[in-house]
Symmetry: C2
Subunit: 153 residues, 2 copies
């Protein structure tokens, strides 16, 4: 991992469909050298994948909520996590320190669906209580942080 790798990573975070030739021009290497580097970054798990980002409301998912999940005394975190993964509306799932055990982000078409979804969450064994915060607007999301990407670490 050197400065060139970090440049490539930054470029691919910006545009995941950039061609190797594009990347090569940007970092001053040939396309095949970039190809080689990207392959290694993928193989070593630095680059996890490439995804199209879609406007949620365009695909009928206009309601976003952040939900804190408080565990019961006997809750098994792994089982709760597996049950959360079963719910397709749960887009992200974080195991956290503090009173709650998990914080999840949920996307659903309507508030009716949110209500139904909360019902499903509360039925999960190990879930004692939930606290729901409805997102009014997403100012930005998943923005690339290139703070350390430009440094040698």
């Amino acid at each position: 991992m050197d400065a060139v790798d970090r440049q490539i990573i930054a470029a691919l975070r910006e545009n995941g469909r950039a061609t190797y030739a594009d990347l090569g021009r940007k970092v001053g290497l040939s396309a095949s050298a970039v190809h080689e580097r990207v392959g290694k970054l993928e193989a070593t798990g630095v680059i996890v994948g490439y995804h199209a980002v879609v406007d949620p409301s365009s695909v009928g998912l206009g309601v976003t909520a952040l939900i804190s999940i408080h565990p019961t005394d006997t809750a098994d975190d792994n089982e709760v996590a597996l049950a959360l993964a079963e719910l397709t509306e749960v887009e992200s799932c974080y195991r956290v320190a503090g009173d709650e055990s998990f914080i999840v982000k949920v996307r659903v078409p309507t508030v009716d669906e949110l209500e139904r979804s909360l019902g499903a969450l509360r039925k999960i064994p190990g879930v004692a209580r939930t606290r729901t915060t409805v997102v009014l607007s997403t100012r930005f999301e998943g923005r690339p942080n290139t703070t350390t990407v430009g440094l040698d670490a």
Copy 2:
């Protein structure tokens, strides 16, 4: 937006570097037809962009925290949001309903940096109080929700 568009979207969310030829084979269209459709989905803002997803700790961002931001009585939400956008460590920013005005996700290299980052947050005019929840592990994140993508809506 028909069922074929939704299939294409689902495929591109899964693999943002899929070729038009691949997508065509998957949905039963020619590459040029897919090219045409994807161009329209991009132009109409359904597909917002394509991004490589990077393992945060591989780029020196091993600490993730979710921070609730409580506003002062006189806070201007837009100004707060703009100030939050200036902080590169703030990866996502949600305006929410409830006591807090914003919930942000922050990624930093170390807990020391988290402390420094919290100091920066609290200096923002309009920010009265923050509540920080440290992420212990990310079970999954930004997972594609294809619930409605397969339907006609």
